[in-house]
Amino acid sequence: MTCSDFLHAYSEYRDGLLRDPAAVTAVEAHLKGCPTCARLARAMAIGLSALRDTEDVAPSRRFRTELTHRLRAEVAIGDPIAPTHAGLAAALLLAAALGLLLYESVVRPEIAAVVRSEAIPVDTRPYAPALTDVTLPAFTHSALQFHSQQIPLGSYAAFTR
């Protein structure tokens, strides 16, 4: 067994998960014969043992107080928008809107008529208007000349100086 093979198998060996007896024997034989791997295994054993002996950190006093406040805030936010309440509120709003619409069309039919007559026509064509349908402004040589005359050459020269 090479050192690389040993490193590959040692973790499972430590956890007792190496099932093959031949592999277990090979790991143990390498451990006896290789001082470098034996040193690494020793460091691992001492280090992991020290790590497990490390004292647990206890929650501070502020931890539980703050958590309780945050949970209360969650509950306070969560309850008013419970599905049953939200659904009831939406239904009431919808009923009010429908009632208002009905009232306007029955009690004040003249307003409803004006609204109907002034409806904005909607372009229902399923395609965008082609360029040929649009009147483009004329783009002439004289127009270009007009714009070029607006910039005096002197000011351009001053800018580039």
């Binding site: 040193r39 691992m44 001492i46 992991l48 002996d53 950190v57 958590l67 945050r70």
Partner: protein, 207 residues
Amino acid sequence: MTIASAAPRPLGTAALTTLGDSEVVASYLAGERRAFDVLVDRYQRRLINFVYRTIGDRERAEDLVQEVFIRVHRHLHRFDQTKKFSTWIYTIASNLAKNELRNRSRNPLVLFQTIRKDSDQDSRPLQFEDRHTRPDDLFRKRHLRELVDWAVTRLPEHHRIVFVLRELEGKTYEEIAEITDCNLGTVKSRLNRARARFAQVIGPWMD
């Protein structure tokens, strides 16, 4: 029999503490609000230690564990009760710890805060835990503790989480695979590399 007498009687807090996690969760979902406190009592210390060992900052670990409980509270109704609650809560904690480590790698200011906190701890006088132990033994013991803590922080993020779950939380390979959403082979490989790296880091101080 009246309807009132047929309704289940609420359990006392003491009775709740004797229940398993899944029963406590079921009890909370049935409307027993005190059941959530039982879950917090049961997991707060374990999670704080897990997150603290992973990120190396105690105050931040407490903030993150609070966030874990907030998320549990928010999503408990969606928790698949056929699964293990501890695996679920550790998955949430592990993801938050992972995000924290990623944010830190992008934000060197946090590293500065950690360094400052460490130097504050160093200024404390040496405390004698056991009067029967010699001071040099105490010093070596404390030095070793600090050394192994430091060695954990030297591990890459994805190795560190697997390492802490195995070595400090005692999770099985299968549980770690579920918590970290990796296959068993990846868990074995990461744990193997993490242990080897850990031993390499502390090795020079062991002689």
